[in-house]
Each structure stands twice: as C-alpha cells, then as structure tokens.
Symmetry: C2
Subunit: 346 residues, 2 copies
DNA sequence: ATGGGCTACGCAAACGTTTTCGTGTTGACA
DNA sequence: TGTCAACACGAAAACGTTTGCGTAGCCCAT
C-alpha cells in the first residue's frame, strides 16, 4: 500500500527543495529545463496529484458547492441535483449534499456543518418546517459571513440572494386555462397549505385563471391537503381527503393538482368512483416526473424543467464565486414552465 | 460582512497565544479557569467554529464520504443515497456525490478528483460502460493507496473490498416462484444484457426457479433488452421489443421484469394488446419504486430495500475508516429481498 | 579587479488547526 | 535564602501547498 506522494517526498528523493519541485511542476521559468524535466518525470512516475485539502486551505476556496434539499428520493429534487452536478463538474466543482428531511433543525445543523470551510457556497431549497416557523436566521448569517446562497423552488423573498424559480402562478394558469378551454366548468384544485410558497403561488394562478374567465371560485373546490410532511406513508389520508372532495362536489369535471402525487392520487380516487378520464374528468398535474409519464392514462402536466433549474442555479452560484468585485448582486431567474399535454385531458 | 473568526484573531484580541486559545476552547487543564472562561465567552460571542479544512489537513481525514453512482434521477439510487446520508450524518460524516452517467471516463475522472484528499473513502455502484470494458484499474489503485471502497448493487468480484448486494438471484426466484404458484405456464423474462451483473443474476434466478419446477426454459421467452444506456428517451424501442416478445409468443401468461421500467412498459404493451392484468397476464417487477406503487394495477415487485443497502454500506465504510488496525477486511453483506404482492398478480 | 546582471535555486511565510515541549513565575518548604 | 514542584502559558512543528523574495554562483563588460 503506497500512500499518496507529496511534494516533500519528491523533494527529498530528488534532493532539491520543496519550492523547486512545486515550481518545476507548474512550469515556472525560474527552474532550469534540466531539473524541471527530472521533477516532472518523477512526479508522473509516482502519479503525483496535489492534495485538494492543502490547496483549499491555501486558496481559501474549496471548489465545492453545498446542496441542501428537503429530500432526495424525489424526482424533482434529484433532477435539480443532476443539473447542478453537470455544470458544477464542467466548471471544476464538486457537490456535497445535505438532507434536511423537511426539518428546521437538520437544515440548520447541516448548513453549519458545511459552512465552516467545507464549501464555497450553497444551493438550497427550504424545508417545510423552516417555512412554517419563518425562522431564516441561518440564511442571513451565512450570507453575512460572505458565503453566497442560491435558493431554488422554495424561496423566501426577504432574503437577499440569487434565486431560481419557476413562474408557479403562470404555470398553474397554463394548466387551468387548458382545463377551461377543454370545457371544464367545475375545476377543483388539490394543493398544499399556504406556507409552502409554491403551493400558494400555484393556488393563486388557479384563482387568476378562473377570474380571467369570469368563473367564480368556490371554496369547496379548493382542497388544501393537511400534510404531515407529505411522506408517502400517510397516503391513505390523502386519498380520503380527495375522496371527500369528489363526494361533496359531484359536479367536478376538472382537477388541477399542484404535484404529481396529488394528481395521481386524484386519478386513482376518481377511477374508484367510476369516473372516466378524460371523458368525465380531466386532470392536470404539476412537475413532470416518472409518475406522470407512465401513469395510465399518461398525465397532462406542467413541466418545471428541474434539470434546467439546477443548471441555472449552479451557474449563478459559480459566477458569483468567481466574480472579482465584491458587490453582492441578487438576481432572480425565472425558468419557463411548459404544459405537456398527454392523455388525462381531452 | 464579518468573515469567520479564527483562533489567531481571538488570540490577538485577547492578547494571548494561539495555543492558549485552542487549549482553552478544548477545556485543557493547562489553562487557568480565568482565561478559559474568558476565551470561551469571546469565542461564543463571535460564534467561533473550527475550520474544517484546517482540521482535515491536520488530521489527515476529512470526515467525508464520496459516492459515485451512475445516475441520481433514479428511485433506487436516491434511496441508497438517503440511507448513506442518514448514517453518515449520525456519525459525523458528510457525503459528496459524483455522477458517472454510466460512463467509464466520467467515473474515473470523478474518482480521481475526489481521491486527492477530498474524501476518506468511497461508496459506489459501477457504471455500465465500466462493466462492459471490464477495466477496473481505478478501483484497485484507489484501494492500493489506502482508500477504502464499498461497492453496492453493481459490484465485481475480482476487487477485494466491502460489498453490499441484494441476493438478486434469490429475489428473482421469489418472483418467478410466485408466478408459477399462481399457475403461470409460460413465463417470460424481460432483462438486460449479461454484462450488467444484476441483470445476469436475476436471469439466473429466473432459470433456477423454472428448473426447480421442472419447466424447460425457452429461449424465445428470454428478452435481453438492447439498451442504449436505458435512458428514458428510447422508450419506444423498448416498447417495440416487448411488443415483439408478446406477438411471437401468444401464450405468455406471466412476465418477470428485472426493473420497474421494464415491468411498467410490459404492462402497458400488454394492455394495448388487449390482455387483462392479472387475469390473462401476471407481472412481477424488481425494485420497489414509485412507479410500482402507483401503477394501475399496482405492481407486484421484489423490493431490494435501497435505503437499507445505503445504511449498511455507510456502516461498513465508516467502521473500516475508524478501525485502528490496518488489516484490510473485505466483507460482503447480502440484504434480503422481499416480495411485495400487489395487484398485478393473482 | 570591480560591478552588474543573469540564472537557478532555497527560505520562509501563509492558510487554520492541534499538540508537544520548553519556560517563566509563583509559592511552599527546608 | 535557595530549591523544587506546580501552574499557566507560549513557541514551534506539523499537515501539503504556493509564492515573493533573497542570494550564491557565474559570466561579461568596464
């Protein structure tokens, strides 16, 4: 077992100083061609690679991006990561992932753990619990210490930092407009509680679309799912809530769901109630994941281009990191949504 | 913008030496209670946190685990990551993720990038291309340099390192036995080319199950999907191949698919051909992801407990890292599979 | 012979820690 | 008063780099 070789060892072996070795490897003109070649040959032979940690310490930058997300077993978030990773890699950065599990405490711990030198900046999406408690001190402190943050998807306006979001309200309008065009008269929405910013915005888009078409919204058609963290475990209660929605509103002919799971579940419940899709009931979801694509019938949905979001977030962060001037910009990029029409609408 | 405070700054501010500060913070008996409290108060006030990078350099360990996987937008792999992350976090480690995209070159690059000091050890699942080329030098070299590796799922026996696998062949037998018990006489398998170790093993389990029941395998019932990297894009060709399978073997009454996508697609194709599931055709998949759970009918499948795999892999790696003696053990842990019966079988 | 200017290299500091060892000051004791 | 231990602290090395600067040795011109 041969340990990694260091400059010091090469220097000793070749009987020169450490600085000579370092300079030789970096092709400094200070070093004679003779020794330069000798050193380089030796380094190659022993497969010398500079130690990243030492470089990080010296340069005071790690070339590593910290990602904090609520969960990773989730199509959208993993898509975003893949986007981040792709541009990060291209630009010579690594990504280190922390999971908050939607918990405020874990989000804080994770960020503190990484903020102490391990990374150069954060890309994150806020945990539900944090949104609920509205305690954002860990974000502001991080930023105050000079460590940039890029937020995506679940963001909060008060914090001055780069953000990448989709136009949720616009996407929702896309969806609801489609339902209206297709002749739906009683369109229900299955959404989250308001503290989830994206849920709120999508609900808002739903309302605007109705308004645009002079349709009065009905409170009974708005289901704000009572989520205990939206784990897949309490799927039953979700089904029950949706079931009640349908039973209390027999005339529903369109459903807009703010995420895949809600949409799929709505479809399942509707089918159990004997409704035909899309003949009796049309459904549009949000987020284009595997579920939507492979559902039967395939689900019409609003794609938010997760990968693109990740790519853009990484670009913003890295640009920020590599900018010379110390101005702190705070850009908000909106990624276009797109309605993908499949079989759950006419 | 106040930068992170260092020992040196505290020392200067309090007019003591750096070593005194360090010792005071670590409650050394060498330091008088007086100065100890003073230093600690000051440190708390300025929210001092030791710099991870400096610690890593000094201790020659980073408390970070490198994960290299083929893709992250994938239910199984993200499950594994969540398992790794959970025990890593509990034991004070971070995880840094590299994606190979099934490419040999990217796998090598990623590993080299991380191996130079950034991490203490690897947990990885091998890229298809690597398996195809059978070039494993990057693994052996990494291990030779004293950096431990734990492989999971897609492993290769020649390499001496810890491994966490599921009993693929056993899991496949579970699935096929179920089909046989349920009365299937002509069971097809939709699998991968043989160089994907898990595909091969599952095929093997399929054959063994048939043999156990004195059923002669028929070559025409074995479809080894011609995958160009199994991206979701060339889904069409997958459908066509499965379509041909059914058309050339009208008597198929059971299908075992080695992954979710194959299973779902088989179901879709079967339905198009007018087959009723599970009446005319029973299907069992492998890997318990969202697709299986939410498919209609819900898919009977072999669960491989991805999260548990990740947890075990992390335990093995960290135990290895924190072991005192320098013996290099090489343990292989087999995680039990489980047949989850749902609606696609009788 | 002196000075100047290259060339080719080494020294040392710096990044932020931890830890070993050395040492100045105190008080007690003979 | 002199000795010694205990106490409280500082100096310095080490982890592995990079880099500004100093300088020894040489050649050439004056």
């Amino acid at each position: 077992m041969k340990r990694k070789v260091t400059l010091k060892q090469i220097a000793k072996e070749l009987d020169v100083s450490i600085s000579t070795v370092s300079k030789a490897l970096r092709n400094s003109v200070e070093i004679s061609e003779d020794t330069r070649l000798k050193v380089q040959a030796f380094a190659k032979l022993y497969n010398y690679r500079p130690n990243n940690i030492a470089l990080s310490l010296k340069n005071r930058k790690t070339k590593t991006i910290g990602i904090i997300i609520p969960e990773i077993v989730h199509h959208f978030f993993s898509k975003v990561i893949s986007g981040i990773e792709s541009v990060a890699n291209k630009r010579g950065y690594n990504v280190i992932v922390g999971l908050s599990n939607e918990s405020f405490a874990k989000e804080v711990i994770n960020m503190e753990m990484l903020a102490n030198g391990s990374i150069d900046g954060f890309i994150l999406s806020i945990a539900k619990e944090t949104l609920q408690q509205q305690d954002y001190h860990h974000f502001t402190e991080t930023i105050n210490q000079g460590m940039p943050i890029v937020m995506f998807d679940r963001v909060v306006n008060d914090i001055k930092c780069d953000k990448v979001i989709v136009d949720d309200s616009q996407g929702a309008k896309l969806a609801v407009n489609k339902l209206i065009e297709n002749g739906c008269k009683n369109i229900a929405i299955v959404t989250t509680k308001d503290y989830v910013s994206v849920g709120k915005l999508r609900t808002q888009g739903y309302l605007e679309a109705l308004e645009d078409h002079k349709i009065d919204p009905k409170a009974s058609l708005i289901l704000k799912v009572h989520d205990q963290l939206l784990s897949e475990d309490h799927l039953d209660s979700l089904e029950i809530e949706i079931d009640n929605l349908f039973k209390n509103n027999k005339n529903i002919d369109g459903v807009f769901a703010v995420n895949e799971l809600y949409a799929i579940t709505a479809m399942k419940v509707a089918r159990k109630l004997g409704l035909k899709i899309p003949e009796d009931l049309q459904i549009v979801g949000f987020t284009d994941g595997v579920l939507s694509k492979h559902a039967v019938p395939a689900l019409t949905t609003v794609s938010q281009h997760g990968k693109k979001i990740g790519e853009k977030a990484a670009e913003l962060l890295i640009n920020n990191l590599e900018r010379e001037d110390e101005e702190d910009y705070a850009e908000t990029v909106v990624i276009e949504t797109e309605l993908i029409e499949r079989k759950s609408t006419k």
